[in-house]
Symmetry: C2
Subunit: 486 residues, 2 copies
Amino acid sequence: MALFFGLENLRSPVLAPARAVANWEQELFMPSPAVAFARQNQARFLEELKDLLRIPSISTLPEHAGDVRRAAEFLVRELQRIGMEHVRLIETAGHPLVYADWLHAPGRPTCLCYGHYDVQPPDPLEEWLSPPFEPAERNGNLYARGAVDDKGQMYMHIKALESLMHAHSGQLPLNVRLLIEGEEEVGGEGIAEYLRQHPETLAADFALVSDTEMFASGLPTLCVGLRGMIYTELEVRGAKTDLHSGLYGGAAPNPFQALCWMLAQMKTPDGRIQIPGFYDELQAPSAAEMATWKRLPFDEEKLLHDEMGATALVGEANYSVLERLWARPTLEVHGMPGGFTGAGAKTVIPAKAVAKVSMRLAPEMQPQRTFERYKQFAESICPAGVTVEVRLIHFGDAIVIGTDNAYVRAATEALHTVFGRETVFIRSGGSIPIVGDFERHLKIPTVMMGFGLPDDNLHAPNEKFCIANFYDGIATLIDFFERLGK
Amino acid sequence: MALFFGLENLRSPVLAPARAVANWEQELFMPSPAVAFARQNQARFLEELKDLLRIPSISTLPEHAGDVRRAAEFLVRELQRIGMEHVRLIETAGHPLVYADWLHAPGRPTCLCYGHYDVQPPDPLEEWLSPPFEPAERNGNLYARGAVDDKGQMYMHIKALESLMHAHSGQLPLNVRLLIEGEEEVGGEGIAEYLRQHPETLAADFALVSDTEMFASGLPTLCVGLRGMIYTELEVRGAKTDLHSGLYGGAAPNPFQALCWMLAQMKTPDGRIQIPGFYDELQAPSAAEMATWKRLPFDEEKLLHDEMGATALVGEANYSVLERLWARPTLEVHGMPGGFTGAGAKTVIPAKAVAKVSMRLAPEMQPQRTFERYKQFAESICPAGVTVEVRLIHFGDAIVIGTDNAYVRAATEALHTVFGRETVFIRSGGSIPIVGDFERHLKIPTVMMGFGLPDDNLHAPNEKFCIANFYDGIATLIDFFERLGK
């Protein structure tokens, strides 16, 4: 058996000798019947995932609301087919939740599997090598919007459950609930609202989220920390109407110029955020955690040249890059709608301009308090002639997960079994607000076990998922569930 | 005769007692037969103008190229109909020129009438009270994109010529050439190229441009100075692809943030432009000219509240508002395309961002030299991690016209005859590059006699033209041509 879930595919030069060949073989372990079933069906699993990826379920664009629902209905049909129970759509103020469960393993733990079936907009379209909603295989990867974030990773849960059901005559080794949302990419409140109102219907011992990535190809990874975030808009208004820049330029307030002055004051070129009190509650990670980060196979040049393709890394020079990405807060501008953005020249001083600005927050920073400080600062530096409205679009708490529980231990062992290497514990600079909601409303910890790779182009053109990771992830999840059912 | 070209319509509270009732009547002058013809046909003239305004000849949008040509063909038919000769389209690399002449008045001066038939894009569409290409009359105004800039004003020339032709048995009192372009709003080089290559085919004694405005309603105005301009783009690039702001924020360069830092350094909040050498060649207007500006009925509060509707005028506090608008250079941001501009939230650090930036220039400032200084400064302040490309989109020279020639004197008298008030000499902060081209290539001065009003919303939603000014402008032009033919 030369190929097993693509484990021969040694992709990371950083990690040589990388991922061992199938550990089950090497150590003379036999794959379980469920793993064997998954292996036999991997081509079908991939085709099903492609069908799901063809649905452009872009949650932020109202014209795609029908597609978002179609993706939810696709999951309902699939969950019913594999034998899950109580499968249904749960309506929210926005896009629906998909729910299913199987709760016939008394005395065994209950896992709440979370994922999201919505995706980011694909723009800029012209930079995709193949259309974002026509999945394409190239070099062992599957390219499509949502391939890794999060349709591909969420679908691994379903395929692991299908394999277990099939291998155990319709039984699972533990109790499972699935809750899959359609508003993750827009920070929709539907799922949090449901958790708040119906925590008893989601009773579980822990949650499982596969929306994170491996630190490097072949290196099994558990994420134990996430930054929080707030997403905001600054809307600046000057004149009541657009003005001709020749006739009024020199005396008319310019909302774009005002935003530039304000945003230049928000953050210095060396990455220091200037909002008064912004860093007040911030604490450094423990010395022990930082020591483990130092041992990670982190290649700054690879991040800069291969992943980013930029001329220099930026930010706070007195913090390591991993610290800047995982433990330091940020402030970023995402776009500045308004004015004239077409080709050619229009000499307008626009009546208004908007900046879309988000901040990532370290664990100790409260989103609401940070927003208030930011709002107050923005208002205080708003220049003469314009007014500013500061809007909070959405927010999420930061998370730090302990590593001393049975679920994280089982995940560590499952990863070791499939990947044949020591699991590393990292943080992610991103935010998964739902993990905070699980902690707050359900009082449960979350295992963040993801199989994305650093170059998967999340939220960008040419998003992809390594097909071998899709298969290995399913095997790992099967092994994880079987361990917890022992 | 109670109504004469709408002169009873006293619109400017600043100027009370404003525009006298028809001066011809008051002083017992009889209107000429041509003026009488124009008065009798004013309703038809207005309907014809509406037909022209219905053509969305937006020169900057490639999808409207056919409409731009339709507008040119409309003018060709009309010029043929009224009896002009050699009427034709002159093809250019872009949109065509419209040419016509009538040269049978030996010993009389030759006037080159200039106008443009292209218009600005109408966005933001939702702010128009009536659709931009469905001309609507409200409160004595005609609302449409291009109503005043420049279809309405250009069409006055044609209607004055038609009236003269009709009243004088197919003759004109002077020689006339018309040259009407379709790329004024995009700074197209077609007309300048034609002037450079064929100056002999446009031989004339002076040019007439009606693309300026009256200082106040009822106050006859000649414009004797224009600012120059350069229109540029700053394109800033960071990573090779869009990045997730959670995963990369803190170490990845952000092109929008870089543009904000750069644009904040370009101009201080008190309006001082920081480009080294920017003001080096600048000279103040003469004491005499500034003294006349002080006597103009300028109402700063009216500019601020009625025209702009802003909370404060901005700019260089140690210069008067008129000096800031007419004689001081500016730097304005018109739009910042790139990144995510839709509704909702997308957490992207975009690979690139653009700022559309223009500068208005005082007479002594060379566009090309100013651009070089700007480019060098932008490159020198480009922050680490990003690169900047500085592009010149188009430019135009500033102009100062002398008032001591027969054409300006005739215009002054014609305006006095129709409006019954002393003509004022002003500058405009806008730019009409063609006036510099006439000076450079044809060696002729330009009479800038316009009938727009300060609140006509040029380049903005709800552009309008005061219908009384359309009629009075035609009468003034007839009188002007008849004076020059004496």
